[in-house]
Symmetry: C2
Amino acid sequence: MRATTIHAPGDIRLSEVPDPTIEAPTDAIVRVTAGCICGSDLWPYRGENPIREGATIGHEAVGVVEAIGSEVKDFRPGDFVVIPFCHCDNTCPDCLAGVQSACPNADGTSSGQAELTRVTQADGSLVKTDGMPDDALVPSLLALTDVMATGWHAAVAAGVREGSTAVVVGDGAVGLCGVIAAQQLGAERIVAMSRHEPRQALARRFGATHVVAERGDDAVAAVMELTGGIGADAVLECVGTHQSMDTAFHVARAGSTVGFVGVPHGVELPLRRMFVRNIGLAGGIAPVRRYLPDLMERVLDGRIDPGLVFDLELPLDEVAEGYRAMDERRAIKVLLRP
Amino acid sequence: MRATTIHAPGDIRLSEVPDPTIEAPTDAIVRVTAGCICGSDLWPYRGENPIREGATIGHEAVGVVEAIGSEVKDFRPGDFVVIPFCHCDNTCPDCLAGVQSACPNADGTSSGQAELTRVTQADGSLVKTDGMPDDALVPSLLALTDVMATGWHAAVAAGVREGSTAVVVGDGAVGLCGVIAAQQLGAERIVAMSRHEPRQALARRFGATHVVAERGDDAVAAVMELTGGIGADAVLECVGTHQSMDTAFHVARAGSTVGFVGVPHGVELPLRRMFVRNIGLAGGIAPVRRYLPDLMERVLDGRIDPGLVFDLELPLDEVAEGYRAMDERRAIKVLLRP
């Protein structure tokens, strides 16, 4: 089959690789109908994470079950499924506690930028739709595999509540989905931090009531003015750099929580400030499976439309151009059709 | 009046200093009937925090109101009061959100190792008993000014719940009070980490169901064995060193929260682990006033007896010996009578 591989920073190829096979009786093979490129795929692309030459890349996909292992009970070939980027058995103590991303019994992630992908612990990992979904819903269902669930996790971790003021740091797909999450969880004021006009517009469409285009101290000052000098009730940190984390802790009010979902790179936490002002940190890799059934309902009944984060659609053949477009911020998020 | 002053590492004196006076109409002056030495007083004593030569030291006291400013409404001379180590107006947005320790309208702490002490924002800060309390209750009431409220804050921040497994890192007075808090909040298993037999015994008396005497990797292994390899539901970090924080994050289960109340010294957080395993960090300086009315009830009706952490009582004259005893771990906590 054809799958996306990375060979060096900036070197993305569509390669011929062996088809995935059922390796454990709990596995399933899914034929990908739509995959996409994640902001976290850009870390190795930019040389900021180590690369194993020729490794497949990509971890977000939806598609149709092609084959199942002998112990898979809840899925059949032909089912349309959403694949959480981290697999899980959904029965172990960690999963039952809602931390499916830490499940010790599932193995890695699917390679979503490919024609076929293997899902471990299929019964625990997958969620299916009732029949084949309308094609117009596919982008939003695809967004649930990672970015929408991750933005949701940031909002839950930050403790967004009815009537609260939430600040979203980061205007990538995850940050924009964080705006959706804050809106759905009842935040009254949602401040999106963004300097990019198309992303500002999308943030407003998703429910942002304020946009702060400044960065650093000026951004902090803007939020402080908005909140009467008190700071935000909940802060969603959706980037993972030192600067974004620092901004997050400086706009968070005393006693609040920064929900963080951006893979941390070079971050040094302001521990003294956290201690003196009782600002907590919560979050991490999103337990996608925990939120997936609820989020799927919200997509199917039209309450949320996270698929709008895909502003470029390409055939899988052009995956390298997709990476370039995201790297150069010409696209927020790229959808790939095999 | 006589007050404790610090002049250099290890150099504690009882000195003659000017009596405190009403400086703002919201102030009160309290005649101290009992004060004590805090673990955090040992940081400057050991030269690990900067010292202003001749500065007063100590911040925990109970006593009788001696004088009030013109705007103090709720207290009269003669009232017996418990003084939270951090003052607060208890009416600002931060106080109303339960973060009285971040109140911007109160000024510092009382100097509790002295004959008299000034309390700012007296109406917001102080809590009085109904008449003069039985002398036997004074140690427990004194413990509420800091250590008991701080241990309680660790348990609340860590999210201790009915039926949960809580680990308390640290067997100082705060850690021991953390055991009390975990017990009161319904933890089913409470693991006290302690190598010191008298402290182990007190931890068990306060409700610890298990004691782990090991440190580092061995301590982690012991907790993992106790929890079937999953880790603790809630971890109370009551020390503030790098090693204690590291242990805390390694015994915490995925998705849990480390509640931290030990002033952090030289701590580097395991951010990658926090992210991958969704282990949060919450806590900081305890908002004593938030918990004080409830904790006072628990003391008065005998549900808790945190005064047992005082295992040495000295006249204020002998304050220097009190510091030595705590520094050498001959005493858990020293009560001082002016």
